[in-house]
Symmetry: C2
Subunit: 268 residues, 2 copies
DNA sequence: TATTATTGCTTCATATTGAAGCAATAAGTA
DNA sequence: TACTTATTGCTTCAATATGAAGCAATAATA
């Protein structure tokens, strides 16, 4: 309800000066409301991974206040837990349902924020110290419809190999999110939320290679992947490309979920 | 400073009724102060592991308010980051320096707290909703001097095989801390903070077995551990026990730290 | 129909793991 | 003092997993 009101306000068109006044008023009003509905001093930032054109992307948002790129984020309502909060934030942003979410770390350095909103009163919500809970999310790129809200000018997928400078410590949050994802590749399956329902072995391998940032041996990948016993080979193959048509697979959802719970490699 | 004042107050001896009055006053005063110095709605709970007599223990605290056992915890000062907070909390509790600390998860369910402090006003600090950051800590059991503070009656090591009922969701926090530690055993070395400086191979194996909750093959453990190349074999052995004296080892601190950073098993 | 790059899957050498066992040893015991 | 015993250090052998390479099948294109 509240978001809608603000969203519509932000679409008004006036002279620059008036726009600035308007923006200030929005911030101040929004601030008052934030103090009422959110847990103070706590934010959520999300590293949202999507896979498209054989490259890994993350969602970024361009902030109005400072014209910098940021990770999509928000706050925790007084009436929800943090996973619900992350879900709500991302659903508003992407429209996607069924987002795979994993919290990975709290970022709490005293100098995380960078003195934005200096023209505002110290009591304004946005000027508070925020400790941020980092989530990473895996979403189906094709099912996402990006939404721009009242704080942001733009919302775009960026290739992780070609990221713009991110504001505050969002670069660090991204790095930590990616490295967590990488580690989890060693004992959890991945792909159910990143790939389309049907996919080929080379496509799956490419996903692994991009996350890990290195080439893998084809035959060995194939063998290991099959041994995990979470794939179902379909009676179709992907036609249309040059050369031999690769077989299509999908995940055995039961076994995939079981592998998620129990882990793939014992270790000890 | 503040803590000292409270600590001394809590040692006064009066009639029961007077004591209750006194306790209420302490809580109210402490509440006012907490609102001033701490980040609201945010707490820290620590699963502090110590190793003694071939068994793994965690630190528990008995709360005055409800007579229940709890994990040691506290709040985050407005002037510190969460690791500093966890360090401060544990240093006050244990006197230990150089504590290995690892945050592992935020616990944020709406019904985490259990309606304690019902006789107090709703504005009291302790009645707020708290999201808690879980840390696990590895400490040298022999170097710890437990401290009882104004909120607690007792502070004791408890064997993880024989834990009392823990208040709120502290049982879940413990479980998650232990399972995180277990997972980390697969790609990180452990022991530098749990074992004495010099230790034997059977002692190290016992530590692994207790954390993992299962027996390991002796010869294979020996072989794998040596291949990690983080141990230094000393020219001494542990005399005094019956049977063959086991060789003493210590960690090569350089290599141990490097292994902590880089991980022990590649995976992919 | 031949060419070509890609794919499915196997093979062989090498490394790692699981299970077992043997010799050395240090107390306790005869 | 020699024997007994359980533990320890470390090796061996079989089973399994991994790394590297390669061969046959295939599908578009020439």
């Amino acid at each position: 309800m509240v978001l809608k009101k603000l969203k519509s306000t932000s679409f008004l068109y006036f002279s620059d000066e008036f726009l600035i006044m308007e923006f200030k008023k929005i911030i101040e009003e929004k601030s008052k409301e934030s103090w009422e509905i959110y847990i103070p001093n706590l934010s959520i930032d999300c590293v949202v991974f999507g896979y498209h054109n054989a490259s890994l992307k993350i969602l970024t948002v361009k902030m109005k206040e400072n014209n910098l790129w940021a990770l999509p984020g928000g706050y925790v309502l007084k009436t929800e837990n943090i996973k619900e909060a992350a879900n709500r934030i991302l659903q508003q942003r992407t429209g996607a349902e069924n987002i795979y979410l994993q919290q990975f770390r709290v970022f709490s350095d005293l100098n995380r924020s960078e003195g934005f909103f200096s023209e505002f009163d110290d009591t304004i919500w946005n000027k508070q110290r925020f400790l941020s809970i980092g989530f990473y999310a895996l979403v189906d790129y094709s099912k996402v419809n990006l939404v721009v809200d009242s704080f942001s000018d733009a919302c775009e997928w960026k290739d992780i190999e070609d990221l713009p400078q991110l504001m505050m410590d969002h670069g660090i949050i991204f790095e930590k999110g990616l490295s967590t994802l990488r580690k989890q590749l060693n004992y959890k399956p991945i792909g159910l939320n990143l790939l389309p329902e049907k996919f080929t072995m080379p496509e799956l391998q490419k996903l692994y290679e991009i996350i890990l940032g290195k080439k893998l041996n084809r035959g060995n990948f194939f063998r290991k992947m099959l041994r995990y016993d979470i794939l179902v080979k379909l009676d179709e193959s992907r036609k249309g490309g040059a050369h031999k048509s690769p077989d299509l697979y999908m995940y055995d959802t039961e076994k995939y979920q079981a592998a998620l719970r129990n882990g793939l490699n014992e270790g000890w």
